[in-house]
Symmetry: C2
Subunit: 288 residues, 2 copies
């Protein structure tokens, strides 16, 4: 079986490792915008061959793991080119725009829209991990629009690599993911910005920042090439989450300045409930 990976980075590279382990007699082809990263992914043995335009027609599976804006453009071209039994799967962090774009494509049945809740703040093929998807949630959108035999193959492979499957409407996906993922990134970016602007003397940050700051600002290391297209595609939902987040911060600031500490105390007591939610996440994901 020939699998082509467009974008052999953190996600694409980890998919390559999972494909190698769970797809019998797989031949892995890959491409990357960066020549250096393509070379690296060949050296690391993530892929066997570079994926050229003329190879597309012979691929059985194509995995699309590139920034969400380019993914949409490429998906249309790829659907036009693939053979009649190939399946294209995308792994981007937004789902409405890409589903909308190909809704009326004659080969819509050969496409599956997914979002694996997995990743790190690192990127590139060297960041690929063999178990990145183990016990992680894989969200599938509009499965009824994917050809049943192709859908079944994908579901089977995802289960083999340890993922727990959930179906979700693309609009619902984008609304919820704005809260639990996109907003986290913005809060982290802006925290990094605020501290960098204030603490021009970096040694003070070195000396005074502990593991708490490192944890909260970790996502601020994520590259704009991946995140700006996400913000662009999910603009309206993100704008709504930002309004609520900023309102909560302003409310906190007012309670602080007017010394309503009892109220703040109760509020934080309630927020501590996030502990159970996070433990639930760990438990749910590991038990499945």
């Amino acid at each position: 079986m020939k699998v082509g990976i467009i974008g052999v980075g953190l996600i694409g590279g980890s998919l390559a490792l999972s494909a190698r382990e769970h797809i019998p007699d797989v031949q892995l082809y890959g491409s990357n915008r960066s020549e250096a990263n393509l070379k690296k992914s060949l050296e690391l043995g993530l892929i066997d061959f570079p994926l050229h335009k003329q190879d597309i027609k012979s691929m059985d599976i194509i995995l699309l793991a590139i920034p969400v804006d380019i993914a949409i453009i490429q998906l249309v071209d790829l659907l036009d080119e693939v053979n009649d039994n190939a399946l294209i799967i995308d792994f981007g962090s937004t789902k409405s725009a890409i589903c909308f774009e190909v809704a009326l494509h004659s080969k819509r049945g050969q496409f599956l829209a997914t979002h694996p809740i997995a990743g790190t703040e690192y990127s590139g093929p060297a960041a690929a991990l063999p178990n990145l998807f183990m016990n992680k949630i894989q969200i599938l959108c509009e499965t009824q629009k994917t050809r049943p035999d192709l859908l079944e193959w994908a579901q089977d492979w995802f289960k083999k690599i340890g993922m727990n499957l959930r179906e979700m409407d693309p609009l619902e996906h984008d609304k919820h993911i704005a809260y639990v993922s996109h907003l986290s990134h913005i809060s982290s970016y802006m925290l990094g910005k605020t501290v960098i602007e204030k603490e021009k003397d970096q040694t003070t940050i070195f000396d005074m920042a502990g593991s708490g700051f490192a944890s909260t600002v970790r996502l601020a290391k994520s590259p704009p090439s991946m995140w700006i297209p996400i913000f662009k595609q999910n603009k309206d939902n993100i704008s709504e989450t930002l309004t609520e987040y900023i309102n909560n911060l302003n409310q906190f600031k007012t309670l602080l300045e007017t010394e309503k500490f009892d109220e703040l105390y109760d509020q934080i007591g309630d927020i501590n409930g996030i502990r159970q939610i996070l433990e639930g996440i760990a438990k749910t994901k590991n038990n499945n």
Copy 2:
């Protein structure tokens, strides 16, 4: 040598473990507001005896590891009671108020104000860790006001448990720590609040939240009993950091809504510089 620990929790319990290892013939006394936690710290062997009021006079060292509001009140009483060669060290996250409170005390020389940049989001004696302070920064304030022989003993012990010492003015400390620690906690609390309010259906959070959300919201598990007193004492500095953080978020929101994605791209590229700063933190702390 008799060491009394007021507040045998995460910090106090970890200090107990470090004292046991590095102070010859140490006898460890401890107290805790919670009877259950006091019992636990005796069971865990963190301390040898409960610390009663009548024991204070015989202590050589007293370690104060309780919420910063109670610490101030207790410090004054303790200074009144201790013998003439005892040293009291506090480990709170704010330093101006406590230094100001005892500035004119006749036994000021028997007090040392410190802030170890170490901790986790957990609390209580069961959260104590033997190597919590290894390779961590320990900030010392107003060392010139501590009696030289007592200061020397403390510095020697801190070095033995692996800490890297820095001196800092208490006002400067509170200003900087608002950015690199207190603001992180508030951004995390408010992120948790925003998500909990929106996602009433917790299974959606379970399914869609990944390690990024868990990391950004980790500090929201921290207890209000510790943090409200910190917010109270460092109100003005924190209010300033919040103003800047909210301004940055509003600016981001405007750039998003007006689709100034190139500007956002450059901004995030700059913020990615936090990676080098964080790596610097790791390197600085491990190489010392």
